[in-house]
């Protein structure tokens, strides 16, 4: 990624990011006023959840090179923790969100510790095994923990999951417009997540993550503590994913083992791959493209999963850098053509001190 710094302060890439952000914020604010259909708005909220999770998986895998398949386990951990705190202790959902996210962080640190000595596909397999174990432990839990009325309830909620433990409070406040209220909350969650992720990625910590991915030996030689960096990226990624999980449980007023299914994980991976692994805007672009494609394929019915599989394979084959990566390449190419043209004309310019 070339950063041609001009003397005006911000690099070109940073200005593009800012412009895109402002446009998105404007669009996000206008959206609920332009959409009548409750279904569409609901799908957009769902898409925002996907985008949040994908952005954190992208941080973990795309930037730091950790091929973890436990992202949905983090999501579920946060969601379940929030739901269980509300269910068993009667807390308000808003109070339970932070503890839920933090418990997901603790879980992720344990997973991160287990993965410390592993690389590449071994990390993928260990995280997959852990996620599968979590799923199985929940689904096969049949022991009665408490009785609700005359119904037996398992500690982890079993195959049924948790419901009716509270909500975000928008129904009481906004009555009929509660969905728009939830949309605003989730959109804010996504925006905050992206902002913090942006700050981290551009900070020295972000550079350390990238060094780990691209050249671990070099990074270690330069004093980057590999273990600390790996645990840190696990923790950060899990915090926002777990927080999203809590909000997910609160928004849908239910949570169950379904979110741990393979197809959900594959969707997140597909989003990131199509958008562009290791790019900042990739997860958002990927979400928009795939959720739209998914809606279109809903018409196709049974060909939907087949289509998704082919899209994943073709994307990684033909566009390994994803849509955003391709766009970035195109912009760089255009800019280098302009620069060549400009310098051919203005040979009286000061000699360029910018990098090649």
């Amino acid at each position: 990624m070339n950063k041609t710094s001009s003397s005006k302060g911000m690099s070109i890439n940073a200005r593009i990011d800012l412009l895109v952000s402002l446009l998105l914020i404007a669009a996000a604010i206008a959206l609920p006023f332009m959409i009548d259909s409750r279904y569409v708005l609901g799908q957009i909220v769902l898409a925002l959840f996907y985008a949040t999770i994908a952005s954190q998986w992208n941080l973990l895998f795309g930037f730091a090179g950790v091929f973890s398949l436990a992202q949905m386990a983090m999501f579920a951990f946060g969601g379940y923790a929030t739901a269980m705190i509300c269910f068993y202790f009667g807390w308000n959902v808003w109070a339970a969100l932070l503890p839920g996210a933090l418990s997901a962080v603790v879980f992720s640190l344990i997973v991160g510790l287990a993965c410390l000595r592993l690389t590449g596909v071994y990390v993928a397999l260990l995280t997959l095994a852990i996620a599968q174990t979590m799923y199985l432990l929940i689904v096969t839990d049949t022991e009665c923990f408490t009785m609700v009325g005359s119904i037996c309830r398992q500690f982890t909620g079993g195959a049924v999951g948790f419901a009716r433990f509270g909500d975000l409070g928008t129904r009481a406040l906004l009555k009929g417009q509660w969905l728009a209220g939830n949309y605003a909350i989730i959109a804010t969650l996504f925006a905050v997540t992206m902002l913090v992720t942006y700050i981290i990625v551009k900070s020295p910590i972000g550079l350390a993550f990238r060094a780990l991915k691209d050249n671990p030996g070099y990074a270690v030689a330069r004093g980057v503590n590999r273990f600390q960096a790996q645990l840190l990226v696990f923790g950060i990624s899990a915090f926002f994913t777990g927080l999203a999980g809590g909000f997910y449980a609160a928004h849908f007023q239910a949570i169950g083992p379904g979110i741990l299914s393979m197809s959900q994980l594959m969707f997140i991976i597909a989003i990131t791959v199509v958008g562009g692994v290791g790019t900042f805007w990739g997860p958002l672009v990927g979400t928009i493209v795939l959720v739209a494609a998914d809606e279109l394929m809903r018409e196709a019915g049974e060909f939907r999963t087949l289509g998704l599989g082919l899209i994943i394979a073709l994307s990684i084959l033909l566009m390994p850098k994803g849509l955003v990566g391709r766009l970035g390449d195109l912009l760089s190419w255009l800019r280098s053509r302009d620069r060549a043209a400009a310098s051919a004309i203005n040979f009286q310019e000061k000699p360029a001190t910018t990098g090649k």
Partner: protein, 295 residues
């Protein structure tokens, strides 16, 4: 007591043989190419359905069905190389590992669903199976189980001979052990990769036929054996074929034992606990060598 032990032993050895076959296919590809073939499950399923189509739908004899599964599996492996893997190999190692895993996940999902759309989701009976048992004193050995174990042992012998004694097998092992040196000797590593995927596909085809003869044919047929095969590969250590076979039998017996003692649903979690423990204590696997990372 004796009955239970023999039951566990028969079940464990049979499933062990099936897992060993699935594991060999995976380990071969993983060891020589550094590739985790997530489409292996679908290739297993394809083999099973191919035999079904040839025998039940087209009415051809059993031997044709069996051979057909091998051929179709081999072709699938070859196509996987030509269409997908060959293009992904152009990137560096770390990117390739992740990309090929993602790509094969996509192919696997697509293939499984294509099978679902063609044949429907209801379970079908695999025509290549044997009925009856062989009675040896107090013990009753079903022919089906014996057939599976014998076929697998025969196959293992063939594969061992192929890898150990032939020029092609040597080239495959050399590529797995030091790719650059193999190239200097004149080995066209791309051909080797193609051969390995074709071989792995053929093995998957046979495995699919045999797994479905024990259970039934359904589109998600290959998922369970593949996941367990991964676990066994990992426990043994990357690319270690004999170790993977040993791990397959060992873990299958463990699974059978746990299922009889604690209940069917504890079988898989036990295997998961084993692999988690192995990955934490011996990251290179039980028999693997720790790769010294040259920084």
């Amino acid at each position: 007591m004796f009955d239970i032990l023999t039951a566990i032993l028969i079940a464990g050895l049979t499933t062990g043989a099936l897992y060993a076959l699935a594991t060999v296919g995976l380990s071969l590809v993983w060891g020589s190419m550094g590739m985790l073939n997530m489409a292996h499950a679908a290739m297993l399923t394809l083999g099973g359905y191919s035999a079904f189509t040839l025998c039940t739908v087209l009415g051809l004899p059993v031997i044709v069905g069996f051979a057909g599964a091998i051929v179709i599996g081999a072709v699938a492996g070859g196509l996987l190389y030509v269409l997908i893997v060959r293009n992904l190999l152009k990137t560096d190692k770390a990117t390739f590992e992740a990309n090929v895993m993602i790509a094969t996940v996509g192919i696997g999902i697509a293939l499984e669903n294509a099978i679902l759309l063609t044949y429907g989701g209801q379970p079908l009976k695999q025509p290549i199976s044997a009925n009856g048992s062989f009675v040896l004193g107090p013990v009753s050995l079903p022919f089906q189980n014996m057939l599976i174990v014998l076929v697998v042992i025969a196959l293992m012998a063939v594969i061992a001979l192929l890898l150990g004694k032939t020029r092609m097998g040597r080239a495959i092992r050399a590529t797995a052990q030091n790719r650059e040196a193999a190239q200097l000797m004149g080995v066209a590593v791309n051909s080797v990769y193609f051969q390995v995927l074709v071989l792995s596909g053929a093995i998957a085809g046979i495995c699919g036929v045999m797994v479905s003869s024990m259970t039934q044919l359904s589109p998600p047929l290959g998922n369970d054996p593949m996941l367990k095969a991964f676990i066994m590969c990992v426990v043994a250590g990357l690319g270690n074929l004999p170790g993977a076979v040993a791990a397959a039998f060992g873990l299958a017996l463990l699974e059978a034992f746990v299922q009889y003692v604690a209940g069917a649903r504890w079988g898989f979690p036990t295997l998961l606990f084993v692999v988690i423990a192995v990955l934490i204590w011996r990251p290179a696997g039980l028999f693997g060598r720790v790769q010294i990372r040259r920084m």
